[in-house]
């Protein structure tokens, strides 16, 4: 934990599962931004073939909880969690995988990566993808090439997925600043981390879905 304390700042996403509608706008926006950057395109193999495959930093999954008539559908965006104790970093043999001191973003130096896949094995969340054309490990960068870009208006200096979300389900900020929007949301809304059992201390957290009480007509149906 000394790593977490020594960092003044930890940028992260806080995902509001209560309002995510599963539109995948964050997925396409992420792909668009990150395939257009200076690091080179994210590989797409056989995009129009029978067995397409591609590199994505962000996915939206869908889960179903409980049973009728209380069934809930939960859309669940999933990307790198920028762990405070990232298990992917110490295992990297070249130092290509690293966590930035200044803002806690976990990044891969594509020029140092040898494509051994060990960091991907060491991530319990499956957050890393080997790019099949560049043969290096890739992952969410929290749009590090966008959030500090002084040439774009300040209100746009957010990750592409955050900009794209039509329901404001993705909050972005410094989780080490107790007064930030993300810290307040985590505090007030019972924000939680994924797979806490592995002590990775993910910086990204999720705000749980709050169940809306059933309507009177639904209660009638129960009888």
């Amino acid at each position: 934990m000394d790593g977490a304390l020594s960092r003044p700042k930890q940028l992260a996403l806080v995902i509001d599962l209560n309002v995510c509608v599963g539109c995948h706008a964050c997925v396409t926006s992420c792909k668009e931004w990150n395939t257009s950057g200076s690091a080179g395109a994210l590989a797409d193999e056989n995009p129009y073939g029978a067995d397409p495959t591609g590199t994505f930093f962000n996915r939206v999954q869908t889960y179903e909880a409980d049973s009728f008539p209380f069934t809930e559908t939960i859309h669940f965006p999933k990307s790198c969690l920028h762990c405070e104790e990232p298990p992917c970093v110490p295992v990297c043999p070249t130092g290509a995988s690293y966590k930035r001191k200044e803002d806690g973003i976990v990044l891969v130096d594509y020029d140092k990566c040898i494509g051994c896949n060990y960091c991907a094995w060491a991530c319990p969340y499956g957050a890393r993808e080997l790019d099949e054309k560049r043969h290096v490990m890739t992952k969410c960068t929290l749009c590090v090439d966008r959030i500090y870009d002084a040439s774009i208006p300040e209100r746009d200096r957010k990750p592409a997925c955050v900009m794209a979300c039509p329901t404001n389900a993705r909050l972005f900020g410094d989780v080490h600043d107790p007064d930030s929007e993300v810290s307040q949301a985590v505090r007030d809304r019972g924000g939680y981390a994924l797979m806490p059992e592995w002590k990775t201390v993910p910086a990204n957290q999720y705000l749980p879905r709050t169940v809306t009480p059933p309507l009177a007509s639904t209660r009638e149906h129960e009888k």
Binding site: L17, H24, V27, D51, P52, T53, G54, T55, F56, R59, V60, Q61, T62, Y63, E64, A65, D66, S67, T73, I74, F76, K78, P87, V89, P90, V91, C92, P93, T94, G95, A96, K112, C113, I114, G115, C116, N117, Y118, A120, A122, C123, P124, Y125, G126, R128, E129, L130, E132, H135, V136, Y192, A193, L194, M195, P196, E197, W198, Y206, P208, R209
Partner: protein, 307 residues
Amino acid sequence: MNPAWPVIFFTTFAGWAQGLVIALAVGSLAGAPPTRELLLTALSVALALSMIGLGCSALHLGRPERAWRAVAMWRTSWLSREVIVLPAFIVCVGIWLTAELAQRGTPLILLVAIVLTLLLWVCTAMIYVCLTFIREWSHPLTVANYVLLGLASGLLLCAGLGVVTGDARYALACAQWGIAFTALAGLVRGASLIRNARLRPVSTLQSATGIRSPRLKQMSMGMSAGAFNTREFFHGKSIWFIRNVKTGFIVLAFIVPIVLIGISFATRSGTAVLAAAMIQFVGLLGERWYFFAEARHPQNLYYQVIG
């Protein structure tokens, strides 16, 4: 996990070479050295096998031309440590062979060879042991398996080379130690198979998503196309196939070699010793495949249903 053939071949070939080096070094230090012909032949074979292993390991990399960078993070990464110790082991075997060719072998080089061999096994095994959430791997039995399987296969190979070069005394000693270590390795591998079969997953769909409902299922992994996540971590083989690989490696790596060495003791058959060494190697390739396939990665929880 989806077993990666370069890693399977690398670890099995390197383990074979390491066991062979131990078989030569310990006998020499114990005052019952192999004949010069066996020593030179076996050291050459060990050198060749470890070079083949090194070549296989490079095939696993997306960017093998940058492999030299992998020595950088030895303070934290077992893979980096392995990348340092493997060439050191190969160089040490090369120096030993050169020294023997010049008839200037010293006990010091033998001791260094033993230390590097053991270090290499530890580094290789710790690469897997240190991944705490892959619970099939994260146990001292993994280290024991890498060491014992390498020792058993190296001893049987040394016995086979003793037969080929006509050093019957050394071949017999290696066959005796080889059958003992094969039996021991079989018991330890059996223990890890039993342990892994009894493991209950720590991570669940609930802990992976934070959705507390006891009735929770994935409806869509968010894509219909393939991805690294669906290729790298799933072997995609049927339960029937997996069971047969398990039975196959138990038979080929342990039972058949023990029976064949037993036959060789009874009949003085050199062919049976050679056959035992070769069949065990094939069995160990199956064992290593199974080692990867039986590891269940928690990320697979997120990739269950295409939807």
